[in-house]
């Protein structure tokens, strides 16, 4: 498993915890917060992608 895959796995585990465990109550406060959470997750992925590309 290379570095990119290790980072992807770490990100995947964190995302699963946030999406599939009771922690998800945190981003269910308002009608727009699920979208905000979703967008921030995409932003993190994009940043990691950029870092992988730079590496």
């Amino acid at each position: 498993m290379n570095r990119e895959q290790e980072r992807a796995l770490l990100l995947f585990v964190v995302a699963i915890v946030l999406i599939a465990t009771p922690v998800r109550a945190l981003w269910l406060q308002t009608w727009w917060s699920p979208f905000a959470f979703w967008l921030s997750m995409i932003a993190v992925v994009a940043l990691v992608h950029r870092r992988d590309n730079a590496a």
Binding site: N2, A8, A15, I19, L28, Q29, I42, V45
Partner: protein, 954 residues
């Protein structure tokens, strides 16, 4: 503006016509063609995931289950995060083995057409409801717009329109070429169009119904239950199951697999899709809650929330048409790609066994089959559309398909991560999964209810209507059977090889290829006929930029790789491999391939090979490479596995040109050397001298058998002893010269006796020249002088360092032996000679030299024999050599003296009967012929001297 069916149909047809025209432009124009190869276009094309379910169904889903509808897209986002772990290895396999579908991948990994067929059947059954969903959504939307109830006739009209579009483009893109920019471009464009439509409609609804965001906020403050209805279902049990199912569907749905892997323009595309696809899905889902709340405000009682998108903008016919066209666009793209993807599976795995008489038919008529199957798939979707009860929501139909593809996950895990997985495990898991899917998910769609509440209760699920239990029960049963059966069954060799190839796809192409271009043509001809074979090979040669016939092996390999890939795209990987490789089992376990793989791994950056296993492999690889002796190993198929650096230097042949090829293809003198050794027992050694044109080389080679299953082979260790032998000869020459001096006293003794006799007789004769016996005395002098002359000649011959090459010729051994016996017979008084020359074959020697050797051996035998004894002379043929054995019945040579028998001046004869140079000279002569002279005791007594010469090879 009053909308009617004619206007809607015309607009829908115009939009689809635009797509067809656009695809033509992109295909024909290099400038526009770039659009189809762009990584952002690719990411947008993956937006084919968003169908009418997203356009219409999401609002209905949100109305029933709140933000649970987002699970369908959160799953995709999770899947995209895992692209380097899950998608990238699959993409690599698809690229490397030119796979066209998930059925191809399973058939390849598990080496089973049956499994490919099972996956195809399951996918067709699972996806048809989804195709029906698209047709139904479009027909329902049109009915709403014209203010009618949806009817079968109305559904049929739009179904036929969409089917015709899919059939026209599907046939266009079913020609087997891997990447088609036109297809990617129109998929990207339709993704942009449906996004635009939904955003515009959502914004319009926001301002038309709520007067903007402030109005919406006020509305939600007045109705807090709306937010509660949206958020609370997310904490329920369906959420996780939906996320899981859609995570699988994101890349296992046949249309997603087709776009993501088969149509991938390049490696970077997948990385871009990692964030671009979730971002696209995010954008297209933003308006969904707004449309839900706006639609709720305007909808009449009893209206399905699935059409709230149209209701929310009911004040504007233009916006309604825009939303409708967005749905038409999404439905048409989904049907197009799904039908292409499914038709590939059907054409590879279902049609041939049922309809085609021969493999030739498959290849020559593949285009007809692909096009027929596309139309058949669309017609089947139509049939489901008419059959399904109208009470089912769009989400129910879509989820049924999603759940079906979830059952591909265990097999995929086996492909990527679990080598122990077997085809039986996957097949039985799939059967159980399909059965549970049929009972728990599919039959309820048709209004058939099976009471499974008891089963649910057994596992602690209280609500049989909930989505979670159905998904978990079905998947758990599948996974359990998959793992259990895999552990209980064993993998075939082919399966094990394919599993290995799937684990390290980047370093294994693993072709067992025909040896020549002619063999390739012959092999393909045997399957598909000469005309088709020539067409296919010429097509592949043009694509691979190879002129027929290929000039060398690398060109042949390039051609074969291209040919197999082209065939694989059309007839599946298994059939293609059989056509090109003649059905021989793929030897991915070939040691040469493994070692090549290791070398490629070693060449990767240090960051990528941190494991101890890699370090050990690298160490062994370096050790083998740097050994100061040449090492060549072959496997049980006599293919070269190792050709180390020292052997490269000795032979001038590079490892890459030798490894993986049959031993017999190595140029001379290496092949004859190894071939000779290969027939020797383990531990044998031989020494040979070869003329390489510009130089001579002397080699000492040893062999040993490598034990073990299933890779038994041989190792050859080769040492260049040219310099060593030259040094030995030089030293031996010096030794011989010095030995002349050292042994001068011995020689003086030999010469002194006859010389004394000569002097005495000469003196007597001088004092009495007229004596009666003067003549007799002169004879004595001559005889003694001859004896001295003989001794001197022998000494000269022994000390002469004659390196002039001997011109060997094929001589009739039996005839030379007879001549030697005739010569020796003169001195054979008292002995019998027993000749057995039945084994007669020409050998490489010179007649004079061989005669000299044989006369010497016969004289020795005669002198050793008592009177009346027999000297046996026999010829024998043995493994490419001719042997002449001379046996005597003398007392034999004592054991302690046997080692010295070929030493110069060593003799067991009485004084005056031998100089001790005969045998050493004979051995020298025979060795110059490339043969050998050996001695062994003869049973029960006596000695045997054997002259071994190379037989003449015609």
């Amino acid at each position: 503006m009053q909308l009617n069916h004619f206007v809607l149909f015309f607009l829908a047809a115009a939009l689809l016509g635009l797509y067809i025209a656009g695809s033509e432009i992109v295909e024909r124009s290099s400038r526009w063609g770039r659009l189809g190869r762009n990584r952002f276009s690719y990411a947008l094309a993956l937006g084919v995931y968003a169908t009418t379910w997203t356009l219409f169904g999401s609002v209905g889903f949100a109305a029933a289950e709140g933000y649970d509808f987002l699970a369908v897209y959160f799953g995709v986002t999770l899947s995209c995060i895992a692209i380097p772990i899950l998608w990238a290895p699959v993409a690599e396999l698809v690229d490397r083995y030119r796979l066209g579908s998930i059925a191809d991948l399973f058939a390849f990994r598990y080496q089973s057409r049956v499994l490919g067929a099972a996956v195809s059947i399951f996918m067709v059954a699972g996806l048809l409801p989804y195709i029906a969903l698209q047709l139904r959504a479009v027909a329902g939307g049109a009915a709403i717009l014209v203010g009618e109830q949806p009817t079968e006739e109305l559904g049929s009209v739009y179904a036929i329109l969409l089917s015709a579009f899919a059939a026209v483009l599907g046939v266009r893109y079913a020609d087997g070429r891997a990447h088609r920019p036109g297809l990617i471009a129109i998929l990207a464009f339709e993704s942009v169009f449906k996004l635009f439509a939904l955003l515009v409609v959502g914004t319009a609804a926001l301002f038309a119904v709520f007067g903007g965001f402030q109005g919406l906020s006020a509305h939600l403050e007045q109705h807090p239950e709306l937010i509660e209805n949206m958020t609370s279902p997310v904490m329920g049990e369906s959420w996780i199951a939906l996320v899981f199912v859609t995570m699988c569907a994101a890349f296992l749905l046949p249309r997603q697999f087709f776009v993501a892997f088969v149509q991938r323009p390049g490696p970077r595309s997948l990385k871009t899709a990692r964030w671009a696809l979730p971002l696209y899905l995010f954008a297209i889902n933003l308006p969904v809650p707004i449309l839900l709340w706006a639609g709720s405000e305007l909808a009449t009682p009893g209206m399905s929330p699935d059409v709230y998108v149209l209701v929310a903008v009911q004040s504007s016919a233009l916006l309604q048409v825009l939303a409708f066209l967005g749905a038409v666009s999404a439905a048409s793209a989904m049907i197009l790609v799904s039908s292409i993807a499914l038709s590939g599976m059907v054409a590879h795995y279902l049609v041939p066994p049922l309809l085609l008489p021969s493999p030739q038919s498959l290849l020559t008529r593949w285009a007809v089959f692909r096009r027929s199957t596309i139309i058949a798939v669309i017609l089947a979707g139509l049939l489901i559309h008419f059959t399904l009860p109208r009470t089912r929501s769009l989400v129910d139909l879509g989820l049924a398909s999603f759940l079906a593809v979830t059952h591909l996950l265990p097999g995929l895990i086996g492909t990527l991560f679990w080598r122990r997985a077997t085809r039986e495990g996957v097949l039985w898991g799939l059967i159980v999964g399909a059965a549970s899917w049929a009972v728990l998910t599919a039959t309820p769609l048709f209004g058939i209810q099976v009471d499974v509440s008891g089963l649910y209760a057994l596992f602690g699920f209280m609500d049989p209507a909930a989505r979670g239990p159905t998904i978990w029960l079905s998947f758990t049963a599948h996974a359990f059977v998959f793992v259990g059966v895999s552990l209980l069954t064993t993998r075939s060799t082919e399966e094990r090889n394919a599993a290995e190839a799937c684990r390290e796809p980047r370093v294994t192409r693993l072709l067992q290829v025909p040896d020549s271009a002619e063999a390739l043509l012959e092999r393909l001809t045997s399957y598909v006929g000469k005309r088709t074979a020539i067409d296919e090979i010429y097509g592949a040669a043009a694509a691979a930029d190879v002129y027929w016939p290929p000039r060398d092996r690398p060109e042949l390999l390039r051609l074969i790789t291209e040919l197999e890939g082209r065939l694989s795209e059309r007839i599946g990987p298994l059939a293609a491999r059989t056509y090109v490789q003649g059905g021989r089992p793929m030897r991915t376990d070939a040691l040469a391939e493994r070692l090549r793989a290791f070398r490629e791994l070693d060449s990767l950056g240090a960051e990528q090979r941190p494991s101890p296993a890699h370090a050990a492999r690298r160490y062994l690889s370096l050790l083998m490479s740097e050994l100061p002796v040449g090492v060549c190993t072959v496997d049980d198929h006599e293919d070269v596995v190792v050709w180390n650096a020292q052997l490269e230097r000795m032979s001038g042949l590079e490892e890459d040109d030798i490894c993986g090829n049959p031993l017999c293809e190595i140029p001379s003198p290496w092949w004859p050397l190894f071939d000779e050794l290969a027939h020797q027992p383990s531990g044998s050694a031989i020494e040979r001298e070869y003329d390489l044109g510009d130089r001579k080389i002397e080699l000492r080679a040893q062999t040993a058998i490598i034990p073990g299953e299933p890779e038994e082979g041989r190792v050859f260790v080769v040492e260049d002893i040219t310099a060593l032998r030259q040094l030995e000869r030089h030293v031996a020459h010096k030794d011989r010269l010095s030995s002349i001096g050292t042994l001068a006293s011995g020689v003086a003794h030999e010469v002194g006796n006859p010389l004394t006799g000569i002097l005495m007789v000469a003196k007597n004769l001088a004092s009495d020249p007229g004596a009666e016996d003067a003549h007799e005395r002169l004879g004595i002098i001559v005889d003694e002088a001859k004896r001295i002359h003989g001794i001197v000649q022998s000494l000269l011959a022994f000390s002469r360092r004659d390196e002039t090459p001997v011109e060997l010729q094929a001589i009739p051994v039996a005839r030379v032996v007879k001549a030697a016996v005739e010569l020796a017979k003169l001195e054979m008084e008292g002995c019998r000679i027993d000749l057995d020359l039945s084994a007669d074959r020409p050998a490489m020697a010179t007649p004079d030299g061989l005669t000299q050797v044989l006369v010497n051996l016969l004289n020795n035998a005669r002198q050793a024999c008592p009177r009346g004894a027999t000297v046996y002379v026999r010829t024998r043929l043995d493994n490419g050599t001719v042997r002449v054995e001379v046996d005597d019945e003398g007392p034999g040579i004592p054991e302690e003296l046997r080692e010295r028998v070929f030493e110069p001046f060593f003799t067991t004869k009485p004084d005056g009967q031998g100089t001790g140079l005969g045998l050493s000279l004979s051995r020298q002569i025979v060795e110059r012929f490339g043969g050998s002279l050996t001695h062994e005791p003869r049973s029960p007594r006596g000695s045997r001297f054997t002259v071994t010469l190379k037989a003449y090879e015609n």
